[in-house]
């Protein structure tokens, strides 16, 4: 430690205070200034100055605000001013007064710095986790973006996962919004009361107040002009204060963003996120959604400190004395917000552990994994819970047949007074509808025609539910049920319509094939129930009951194909019973349909068709028929759906070999087929499937805790002992080498644990950091293999496209008959 001789007067004047209130002070400069104040070597914070001037006892000397810094700098003669009447005559008393001021400053600064440190710690963990795009680390918004680029829209209905949906939207009038944001920035800047010293108490409180939006606050009560920017006189007064100018500016922005009309319309639970607006000088950004507008911190280093000044408050509680808020009073308990509001309204935060019930979905055990007692399996892959296959087609893969991935272009028409009119489905029967040149069928939703206890029925193409022939292009879909589940019945039956649309009309074609066996029935029904169970999950029904989508689909398939156990295979899981799942789901819909917003009759469900069902109906026309339009969102999946359906349609419908499908399973009936020449492009490019196995790293908490115990002992040079506290003390260390007297021996034995105390303390403090690092490593381990699998897909696709580009299209047709 260095030695120095304190030098006399005037040297302290060399020390210059660094201004921290400048609007452009950087993060480091502000932290440095707070640290300097904590050291209490030069100056105190403005709130502390004001507070001390109010609470310092008048019986000693009258302390003014400007005296506080002088006391820190030990300028006694300026503080005491012996020539004044109310000052002590004896200047030696001055040092005592000055030391008391310094002590008060140090204690209050220490407390404020501790609270700031908590903010630094949590801010450091959370700085990279944010819901809104445009932030420094935008993982939460980048992941949905990548999903959106890859996903085919069929996955929205047919995938057994529900993601929280968000879409990015731009402002309709950026120039007008710029003016509104400038107004907001001005209102916020006005809250900064810094002068010679920083005083941002109100600005900081305002940002935290509107951190989670302004709508709930504004809805609770109008902003009272008499309480504008004022607190209630308690330590936490600014946590509940309101700032009318700021609220007006936020409301002005909200008026525009809430009025936006979305095309396509927002899905259930989907959020629309507008670009964030940064106020760099203030370290603040503004986030905007279609349902709220709020503020946030660029770098979250500021927090609301216990208030010390109540001179301007609109109330004077007991702890407010002469304008100072005295300590020692515990504030009242803050109320928890309602579920799904405040912090839990943000898109990413709502998936966090604070905002979501920690009830995991009841699902069967994961196949092909060995879980030991010491392991916790975080996640894994599994096959659907079916006894047999999950999907069947008549020929070919029928890519993207189920689910909706296209926007409306052409639809069926009905004869009108002045020509064909667009067909609008009603709950009644519509027989004379023309599907158009681009489609092989149309769907006619009819209410109440099941005639049986069955809830829904999709008749074979060209026939009604009784087997009587009708329009050969018509797929009559009967919706019965309890009325309140009509939405999901419609989605289910439309999937069946999709399965039958491109088949020839009649019972014999496809219908019997599908339902001839239980396996066929299960494979057909499972696909349809994936869509309806997926819709139920999106609407919150399945999460409330704790069932996953594939469990729901497997259980419901049982009831369409012969009863419980026909299709589903849940192992021996006692928590999964098809009948119970079916009954609970039906009852939940019956009890909560109004809250969910479900139509309560079939008629209402047909007249206000769910957008998901509409999209599936839009996807029925053929994609590649000449003169037919196809419109879809530009994603990788949708492009692949288009290419795949077009290639399939071409392979199944071409006329190169007259009257014959080339890719059916039937044998050759024409003698010259076996003598056809070899396709010169056969095997031109061949790809092996990428290896998509992603091993999930196991998480072994018990082993990690044992390793920590091991480390505690190794720090003391001992082997692992249980419990590890035994490593702190080994009686043999002293008894094998006695000291000169018993007292010294006793003292040494007593002091032995103290030797390792520092290492133990350091290790125990380090443990959370190491734990965090281990968690990050587990994530990195998974991510690196998952990204590699992704890379392989992209390489394969790249090779495929290159190969396509290298194909030489022959200018002559392949020889039909080759002399052998």
């Amino acid at each position: 430690m260095m030695h120095y001789t304190p030098i006399a007067i005037g040297l302290s004047l060399l020390l210059q205070a660094a201004p921290v209130h400048a609007l452009d002070a950087t993060l480091y400069e502000r932290i440095k200034a707070f640290t300097l104040q904590e050291a209490a070597m030069k100056e105190a914070e403005k709130p502390i100055e004001e507070f001390l001037a109010k609470i310092y006892p008048d019986s000693l000397i009258e302390l003014e605000e400007s005296d506080v810094d002088k006391a820190l700098q030990k300028r006694d003669s300026e503080i005491c001013r012996t020539e004044d009447d109310d000052k002590p005559d004896n200047p030696t008393y001055c040092q005592g007064y000055r030391d008391q001021v310094i002590d008060l400053v140090r204690r209050n600064t220490w407390l404020r710095m501790q609270i700031r440190e908590w903010q630094y710690i949590t801010g450091g963990y959370e700085i990279g986790i944010d819901s809104y795009p445009g932030r420094t680390v935008a993982i939460a918004s980048r992941l949905p973006s990548i999903l959106k680029i890859w996903q085919a829209d069929t996955a929205v209905q047919m995938s057994p996962f529900v993601e929280s949906k968000a879409r990015g939207v731009v402002f309709d009038d950026p120039a007008a919004m710029e003016t509104k944001f400038t107004t907001l920035e001005t209102a916020l800047t006005a809250l900064d009361e810094s002068g010679d010293k920083e005083d941002k108490e109100k600005l900081i409180a305002a940002v935290w107040r509107y951190r989670n939006g302004h709508q709930r606050i504004v809805a609770s009560a109008d902003c009272d002009a008499g309480q504008d920017g004022k607190g209630d006189g308690t330590e936490l007064q600014f946590m509940t204060a309101r700032w009318c100018d700021v609220e007006d500016a936020l409301l002005d922005i909200y008026a525009d963003t809430s009025a936006v009309v979305f095309d396509p319309p927002l899905n259930t639970g989907e959020l629309a996120l507008f670009p964030i607006q940064e106020f760099e000088d203030l370290n603040i950004y503004v986030w905007t959604r279609q349902d709220d507008v709020g503020l946030g911190w660029e770098v979250p280093v500021d927090n609301i400190l216990p208030s010390l000044d109540c001179s301007d408050s609109y109330e004077t509680p007991e702890e407010c004395v002469d304008g100072a808020i005295l300590g020692g009073t515990y504030p009242g308990e803050l109320e928890d917000p309602e579920a799904g509001t405040m912090l839990c309204s943000h898109p990413f935060d709502k998936s966090g552990y604070l905002c979501r019930d920690r009830v995991s979905a009841v699902c069967p055990p994961i196949l092909d994994t060995e879980v030991t007692d010491e392991q916790i399996l975080l996640t894994g892959c599994k096959a659907p819970n079916l006894l047999s296959s999950q999907r069947r087609t008549e020929s070919g893969p029928n890519m993207c047949q189920e689910g909706g991935w296209r926007s409306f272009t052409e639809g069926p028409t009905i004869a009108g007074a002045s020509g064909p009119e667009a067909f609008v489905d009603t709950p009644g029967e519509e027989v004379d509808v023309d599907p158009g040149a681009c489609s092989n069928c149309y769907v006619d939703l009819v209410c109440g025609c099941t005639g049986t206890p069955q809830e829904g029925l999709s008749a074979p193409k060209g026939y009604d539910e009784s087997g009587n022939p009708t329009n050969p292009n018509r797929i009559k879909t009967c919706i019965g049920g309890i009325g309140k589940n009509s939405r999901y019945l419609i989605i289910h039956e439309v999937v069946h319509a999709q399965q039958h649309c491109n088949l020839p009309p009649g019972y014999e074609n496809g219908w019997v094939e599908s339902y001839d066996t239980t396996e066929g029935c299960c494979a057909t029904e499972y696909q349809a129930y994936l869509a309806s169970c997926g819709a139920m999950a999106e609407d919150g029904i399945l999460p409330a009951l704790g069932y996953s989508i594939d469990v729901c689909a497997a259980a419901f398939s049982d009831f369409s194909c012969g009863g419980p156990g026909s299709c589903s295979d849940f192992g021996n899981n006692p928590d999964l019973d098809a009948q119970i799942i079916y009954d609970e789901t039906t009852q939940y819909i019956e009890d909560n349909y109004a809250e969910i917003g479900l139509p309560d009759t079939c008629e209402e469900a047909v007249n206000n068709l769910d957008p998901r069902a509409q999209k599936m109906i839009n996807s029925m026309p053929l994609v590649c028929s000449p003169d037919c339009q196809t419109k879809f969102l530009n994603t990788i999946g949708n492009n692949l759906c288009f290419i795949g359906q077009c290639v399939e349609q071409s392979l199944e419908g071409h006329k190169l070999i007259p009257g014959r499908w080339t890719t059916t399973v039937q044998g050759e009936n024409f003698p010259y087929e076996s003598e056809a020449g070899k396709d010169p492009n056969l095997g031109a490019f061949f790809l092996s499937s990428p290896d998509l196995s992603v091993p999930f790293p196991p998480y072994r908490p018990y082993t990690l805790v044992q390793e920590l115990d091991n480390a505690l002992c190794q720090v003391n040079g001992l082997p692992k002992l249980f419990p590890p506290i035994k490593c702190a003390f080994d009686v043999r260390r002293r008894l094998s080498r006695q000291t000169y007297n018993l007292l010294a021996t006793w003292q040494s034995l007593n002091d032995q644990p103290l030797e390792q105390q520092l290492e133990h303390h350091a290790l125990s403090i380090l443990a959370p950091g190491v734990g965090s690092r281990i968690g990050t490593n587990v994530y990195l381990l998974y991510f690196s293999t998952a990204v590699r699998a992704f890379e392989e897909i992209m390489h394969s696709t790249d090779d495929l496209l290159k190969g396509l580009g290298d194909v030489n299209f022959p200018t002559e047709m392949c020889e039909r008959i080759v002399d052998i």
Partner: protein, 255 residues
């Protein structure tokens, strides 16, 4: 009393960076100067990262400005992500972090500098802090000599060294020593806590930055793939022309 959590969490921020990290062990046969004692008599620390070549009055300004610039730069998203390289987030020589790193012995060599990643900011700034503290400690040990040497050099004004200075007073040397020691005491009190707190705040960026960079690269690659497949879809639209082909490709309307 400073919270020990602060320094240890900062240490963790230093440790939590993507694998592989800058090596903290020397090559065989080579001295690696991190955590080596730094004094003016130590090899590679002769001018203690150039501090001994500067006026003492400028030390704190220069140090704090450099640190502030590095942290401000780090808070902003990376300007460049090299998706096709192993090191996604390299440090450029012209950046604030790069300038600090190049002035320090561990990264003065181009080979070592090339291994630096953006997330190594903790290592670089803490080494810079250590060097700054080392410079002050070293200066304090030789304070009277350094001050006297400085006065004689100023009086010589670049010319031949002087034998004596008219009006030279030991009291002025003592006064200068006192002032410098007070300044150094203040700097010791605030430099380390300030840097550790700042690193604590920005450590989250370092923890998640590499993942964010990977995701950006994945996003860009996905967009490229989407565009390529969109071209494929455009090409597939022409497939109907093939359906009715007999011997040569022709338009259907031509009959």
């Amino acid at each position: 009393m400073r919270n020990p959590t602060t320094s240890l969490i900062t240490l963790c921020a230093l440790l939590i960076s993507a694998i592989p990290t800058v090596k903290a062990a020397p090559e065989v046969g080579q001295r690696y100067p991190i955590l080596a004692p730094c004094s003016r008599y130590e090899d590679r620390y002769t001018d203690v990262a150039d501090f001994l070549n500067m006026q003492f009055e400028d030390w704190d300004d220069i140090y704090h400005e450099q640190i502030s610039a590095a942290i401000e730069e780090y808070i902003k998203p990376a300007e460049e992500i090299k998706c096709t390289q192993d090191n996604l987030l390299p440090v450029s020589a012209g950046s604030a972090i790069g300038r600090i790193a190049r002035s320090l012995p561990p990264w003065a060599e181009p080979d070592e500098f090339a291994k630096l990643k953006r997330t190594d900011i903790g290592s670089v700034l803490l080494e810079y802090l250590r060097t700054y503290e080392c410079a002050m400690t070293d200066h304090n040990f030789f304070l009277p000599i350094d001050i006297i040497t400085q006065k004689f050099e100023e009086a010589a004004g670049g010319g031949p060294p002087l034998q004596f200075i008219r009006g030279f007073s030991l009291m002025s040397v003592a006064a200068e020593m006192g002032a410098r020691r007070i300044k150094m005491m203040e700097e010791f009190a605030i430099s380390r806590p300030s840097l550790e707190r700042s690193l604590m705040v920005v450590s989250g960026i370092g923890r998640l930055g590499p993942i964010d960079a990977e995701l950006q690269c994945l996003q860009r690659g996905s967009l490229d793939l989407r565009n390529a497949l969109a071209l494929g879809a455009d090409a597939a639209m022409c497939l109907p022309r093939v359906w009715d082909a007999r011997d040569v490709l022709r338009d259907i309307e031509d009959g």
